[in-house]
C-alpha cells in the first residue's frame, strides 16, 4: 500500500521526535558520567558536555577510599539482598496459602488485606509505631516493615491459582504435605513471577533513601542513597555560597582534581551501577510484570 506524502512526512516527524526524546532521556545521565570522569576544578570552568576535557580517575579513587561511602554501599547491598529474599519468600508462602480454596476464612482474610491497599495510617502513626517497636536506628527497620506486600501477594496468588490442580493432587496422593507441594512443585514452576517481583522489590530496596533518613541516625547503618542525599543536600548550600564568592572559590580550588561536585557525580555513578547491571534482566521480565499487575486485577 503506497503511503501518501503526508504519511511519510508524519513518519519522519515521529522518528525525529522519538530520537530527540531518547536523546534528552539519556543526556543527563551521560553528562553526569562525563563530569565524574573529569577533573573537578576543570569542571568549574564550565563547558563539559559530551566528553571529559581533563580526564581523571581521581574522583572514583576518592570514592572507593572513603570508608563511609564503601560502608554505605555495603549496607545497601545487604539490605537489598536480605530484604528481597525475606519479602519475596514470606509473601510467596502467604500467597500460596491464600490460593488454596479449602483455606478456612479465605474471603475474610482477603478483605482484610485489600482494605490496607486503600487505607493507611499515614506517615506519622507509622513513624510512632516503629518507634514504639524499638526498631529505631537498627538495620532491620529497613527490612521488616515492608516484609509483606499485599500487591505482590495478589500477583503470586493469581499465578498459583493457575497451576494445574492435577500436579498438586498427584503429589498429595504420594504423601506430600502442603508445605512440600509449595516448595517442591509450585515454587520451581514460578520462576518468571519470582524473578519479576524480586527485581521490582530489589530496585525498591536499593533506591529507598527516605526510610533510613527518618529512622536511622547512626551513620554506619545508612545506605548509600541516603548518604548521597546528604551530600547533595549540603551541595545546594555550597552552590548558594559559591554564587556569592566564586572568585575566591576558584582560586582555592585550582589545585584540586576533586571538588564536592565531581565527587558527588562519581558517587552517583557508583550508586547507579547495580541498577545498570541488572537493567537488561529487568527489561526482560518487567514488561510482562507491569502487564500482569495492571491488566489482571
Amino acid at each position: 500500500m503506497k503511503q501518501s506524502a503526508g504519511d511519510r512526512t508524519l513518519l519522519f516527524i515521529i522518528y525525529a521526535l522519538l530520537a530527540l526524546m531518547a536523546f534528552f532521556s539519556f543526556y543527563p545521565f551521560w553528562n553526569a558520567a562525563v563530569i565524574s570522569f573529569n577533573n573537578g576544578t576543570d569542571t568549574m570552568r564550565g563547558g563539559i558536555t559530551f566528553w571529559p576535557r581533563s580526564f581523571t580517575l581521581e574522583n572514583y579513587a576518592v570514592v572507593f577510599e572513603d570508608s563511609r561511602l564503601i560502608n554505605g554501599f555495603v549496607i545497601s547491598v545487604l539490605r537489598t539482598v536480605i530484604g528481597t529474599l525475606l519479602s519475596i519468600g514470606a509473601t510467596a508462602i502467604f500467597a500460596y496459602g491464600m490460593s488454596k480454596s479449602e483455606l478456612i476464612g479465605r474471603k475474610g482474610y482477603m478483605v482484610f488485606c485489600i482494605i490496607t491497599m486503600y487505607f493507611s495510617g499515614g506517615l506519622i502513626p507509622t513513624f510512632l509505631l516503629i518507634r514504639s517497636l524499638d526498631l529505631f536506628n537498627s538495620f532491620w527497620v529497613m527490612v521488616i516493615p515492608g516484609l509483606i506486600s499485599v500487591w505482590n501477594m495478589i500477583i503470586f496468588r493469581t499465578f498459583f491459582k493457575g497451576i494445574p490442580a492435577g500436579l498438586e493432587e498427584s503429589a498429595k496422593i504420594d504423601g506430600c504435605s502442603n508445605w512440600g507441594v509449595l516448595f517442591r512443585i509450585v515454587l520451581p514452576l514460578s520462576g518468571p513471577v519470582i524473578a519479576t517481583l524480586s527485581l521490582f522489590t530489589a530496585v525498591y530496596h536499593w533506591n529507598d533513601w527516605f526510610t533510613p533518613s527518618i529512622y536511622i541516625s547512626n551513620a554506619d547503618l545508612l545506605p548509600i542513597q541516603t548518604k548521597l542525599q546528604q551530600i547533595l543536600n549540603s551541595n545546594i548550600m555550597s552552590e548558594q555560597m559559591a554564587q556569592m564568592d566564586s572568585a575566591a572559590q576558584g582560586r582555592m580550588g585550582r589545585m584540586k582534581a576533586v571538588t564536592t561536585k565531581s565527587l558527588s557525580m562519581a558517587t552517583m555513578m557508583v550508586a547507579t551501577i547495580p541498577i545498570l547491571c541488572v537493567y537488561p534482566f529487568l527489561q526482560k521480565y518487567f514488561v510482562k510484570g507491569v502487564l500482569v499487575g495492571s491488566l489482571k486485577e
Partner: protein, 318 residues
C-alpha cells in the same frame, strides 16, 4: 456355597466436623497465612488506628492511652494556619500541572512508538526511556542539580550559546521555575515506564480496523484519532480515575529533594511535605496526623467521585 452377606449399614449421616476441628486439620495451611496476617495487622492496621491521635494532644511520654482528647482542635488549627491555603494551592496546582502534562505524555509516546517499523530503533528508544524510572530520586535530583547548575550546567550553557541569556540562571533557587522543574523532571522520569501499558493496549487494536480505514483514505493521523484512541479509551479512563483519586499526592520525594531550599517553600510545600515537616521535623505529631487524615479522607472522596463520573460514561473501576 458361601453366602456372602452384605451388611448394609445405613450410616448415620455424620455431622460435619466442628469448625474448630476442620481448622485444626489444615493447621499447616493456616500457618502459611496467619503470621503474615498478624504482620499486616501490626504494620497496617495499628497505624490506621493510630490516626485517632489526630484527635488527641498526643505526647510521647503519655502514649496513646494517656494523652488527652481534644476533639477537632488540631483540625481547626490546621485550617486556620497561615500556610494552609498556600499548601493547598501548591498541592492542587502541582498535581494538576503534573496531570495535564504528565498524563498525556506516555500516551503520546506509546502512539509514536507504535508507528515505528524499525525494530532496532524502537527497542533502543524504549530501553533508554525506561531507565529513569529505575533510578532513585536522589540520583535524578543529582542530575537535575547538575544540569541546572550555574557552573557547568548544560541548560545554562545551552541558553548562553543560543544567546538567550547572558548570565547563568540559578534555577533551583528561584521560585518561578520550581513548578516547571518539577513537572519536567517528573515526566522525564516516568514517561517511558508509563507508556508500557498503553503500548500493549495499542498493540491489541485490531489491525483490520486500520486497514479498513486506510482503504477509505484515512491518513495515519486520522487513524490514530478515530481508531486507536477510542480503542484504548477504557485503559486511559481507568488510569485517569486513579490519577484523579491521587490528586492530593502532588509529589513527595521529588519536592523534598529539589525543593529543600527554604526560598522555595512558598511554592513547593504540598500536603505530604507539610505533614513530614510539621510531624517528623517539628515533632507536632497530633497536628501533622490531623493534616494527613484530612488529605486521606479528601482523597477517598475524590476517588469515589471520579469513579462515579466515569461510570456514567460507561467505564469505571467498579
Amino acid at each position: 456355597m458361601q453366602n456372602t452377606t452384605h451388611r448394609v449399614t445405613i450410616e448415620k449421616s455424620k455431622a460435619k466436623p466442628s469448625l474448630f476441628k476442620r481448622f485444626g486439620r489444615q493447621w499447616d495451611l493456616q500457618l502459611m497465612v496467619l503470621p503474615p496476617l498478624l504482620f499486616i495487622f501490626v504494620f497496617s492496621y495499628i497505624p490506621m488506628y493510630g490516626v485517632l491521635m489526630a484527635f488527641q494532644d498526643y505526647s510521647l511520654f503519655e502514649g496513646f492511652a494517656g494523652s488527652p482528647w481534644v476533639g477537632f482542635k488540631h483540625f481547626e488549627m490546621f485550617f486556620g494556619a497561615p500556610e494552609f491555603w498556600t499548601v493547598i494551592r501548591n498541592t492542587v496546582v502541582i498535581s494538576l500541572l503534573k496531570l495535564l502534562i504528565g498524563f498525556p505524555a506516555p500516551i503520546i509516546l506509546a502512539l509514536l512508538l507504535n508507528e515505528v517499523r524499525n525494530r532496532v530503533f524502537k527497542k533502543v528508544v524504549q530501553t533508554i526511556s525506561y531507565l529513569p524510572h529505575f533510578l532513585s530520586w536522589v540520583i535524578v535530583s543529582g542530575f537535575v542539580m547538575s544540569m541546572l547548575s550555574t557552573e557547568n550546567g548544560s541548560v545554562n550553557m545551552l541558553l548562553q550559546n543560543l544567546n538567550l541569556i547572558k548570565e547563568p540562571i540559578n534555577f533551583l533557587s528561584l521560585p518561578e521555575y520550581f513548578w516547571t522543574i518539577l513537572v519536567t523532571t517528573g515526566v522525564w522520569k516516568e514517561i517511558g515506564f508509563a507508556s508500557i501499558v498503553y503500548l500493549a493496549a495499542i498493540a491489541g487494536v485490531d489491525p483490520h480496523m486500520h486497514e479498513a480505514a486506510a482503504m477509505d483514505g484515512a491518513g495515519k493521523l486520522r487513524q490514530i484519532f478515530s481508531i486507536t484512541l477510542p480503542a484504548i479509551l477504557p485503559v486511559i479512563i481507568v488510569f485517569l480515575i486513579l490519577a484523579i483519586g491521587n490528586l492530593l499526592s502532588a509529589g513527595f520525594e521529588d519536592i523534598l529533594l529539589l525543593g529543600s531550599n527554604p526560598v522555595l517553600r512558598d511554592v513547593g510545600d504540598v500536603l505530604d511535605t507539610y505533614v513530614y515537616r510539621t510531624g517528623i521535623q517539628n515533632n507536632r505529631y497530633s497536628y501533622a496526623t490531623a493534616a494527613g487524615l484530612f488529605k486521606s479522607l479528601l482523597g477517598v472522596l475524590l476517588l469515589v467521585g471520579a469513579n462515579y463520573a466515569a461510570r456514567k460514561s460507561g467505564n469505571s473501576l467498579w
